[in-house]
Every structure is written in structure tokens, then in C-alpha cells.
Subunit: 120 residues, 2 copies
């Protein structure tokens, strides 16, 4: 790895997941050094869950995996961009993207699965 990612004081960087084909921004989650390593080794997006305090393979329980096309890093090397092929939907609410609402509360994103079926 040529770029030395700056994981900062808490050992995590934010990672934006973007649909490699459509450009839709799907979600933001946090990544530890180990999560980045697993992402690069396996070709599937891994993150670090701050609430569960554990490494997390996206889609591990739902099947909604993110196949990695490219990992980019920003100018300060403290944020990642995962370009992915998203199976199903990225959001636990059933939406394709977690950004399915405007800040005014208007629903603008597409719902692609029923979370009660997937996470039962």
C-alpha cells in the first residue's frame, strides 16, 4: 500500500461507499486498519462497528455484500472512498442508499427490499 492512511487518535477513518456503476452514494461507515486490510484481501467491503466494537463484513448477515472495485483515499489520507458493486440495498431500512431522505424529511431514495424478510 503506497498511501499511508492516517487512522488518527481513535484508529478509525470514515469510508464513503459509492455505487461504482451509478455513482449513488450508498452509506458512510468507519474503517479500522484491520478492516481495510480485510477489504483489500477479500475484495469485499469491511468496516468497524463503533457501537458493537467489532470488525464487520458488510452484508455478512443480510447477503447484501459490497464487492470492491477500487479503494480511494482523500488528499489528507484520513477518509476512504469505496467504489463498490452493491448487492441488494446498502441500508438496513431496505433502501438502496442510507441517504434516502432530505434533511426536510422528504423520502427521495428507492426502497429495494423488505427489512423484515431479510433480517428476521
Amino acid at each position: 500500500m503506497t498511501v499511508d492512511v492516517d487512522f488518527g487518535d481513535d484508529g478509525l477513518v470514515p469510508a464513503v461507499a459509492q455505487d461504482a456503476e451509478t455513482g449513488e452514494v450508498l452509506m458512510l461507515a468507519y474503517v479500522s486498519p484491520e478492516a481495510l486490510e480485510r477489504t483489500r484481501e477479500t475484495g469485499y467491503a469491511h468496516y468497524y462497528s463503533r457501537s458493537r466494537d467489532e470488525l464487520w463484513k458488510k452484508g455478512g448477515s443480510s447477503g447484501h455484500l459490497q464487492s470492491i472495485q477500487e479503494v480511494r483515499v482523500d488528499c489528507d489520507a484520513d477518509t476512504l472512498l469505496y467504489l463498490v458493486d452493491q448487492e441488494g440495498g446498502a441500508c438496513h431500512t431496505g433502501h438502496r442508499s442510507c441517504f434516502y431522505r432530505t434533511v426536510d424529511g422528504d423520502e427521495v431514495g428507492e426502497k429495494v427490499f423488505d427489512p423484515e424478510t431479510v433480517y428476521e
Copy 2:
């Protein structure tokens, strides 16, 4: 504002800026309640600089303003997505996007201005 944004313990949320037309992810920065208020009032992207510890109008010195088309919020209401029309380039390096490198160090993003001219 209908959605109650969760600014967390440090009073900041990450905001992803995306080109509203091309879908390119331009940058990630942090937003305070006041920065969000100013963004909504003025129609131009405002952030909060953690290093300078101050409210910051994007493009205030460079002229590379971000005109806001829409502000979205994610499922947990702790991350924002700014859909913007970007003047010039988002990155202080002169690139259109701050994500101009792969994590392997390959330059993949377009350079659109000379930072020495803009920030002299």
C-alpha cells in the same frame, strides 16, 4: 427541519459533498449545527474546520464555492450528504475531487486548477 440530526458528543457530523450533476464524490468534511444552519440559510456549503476550530465557508478564499442543490441525511441521522454545484475544484491540491488517488497511490482524478495561483 424535520429530521433531527444527531451531532453526537463532539457536536459534529461528517458531510459528504457530491457533484449534483456528475455524481462525483468531491470531499468529506465536518459540520456543526451552526454550519448546517448557515448552509441552509445561504445555499452555499459551510463546514466546521476541526484544525482551525472555526466555521468555514467552502470556497471563501479560493472562490471555489459549492452551491447547494439538496441536503440529505442518512438512516441514523448522523451523516449528511451535500449535493452541490462545485465551482472549479473541491481540493486544495487543484484536483476536482479530494479522492484523486487510489490507496495504491495511482492518480486517477482530474486536476482542474493550479493551487499556487489560487492560494498565493
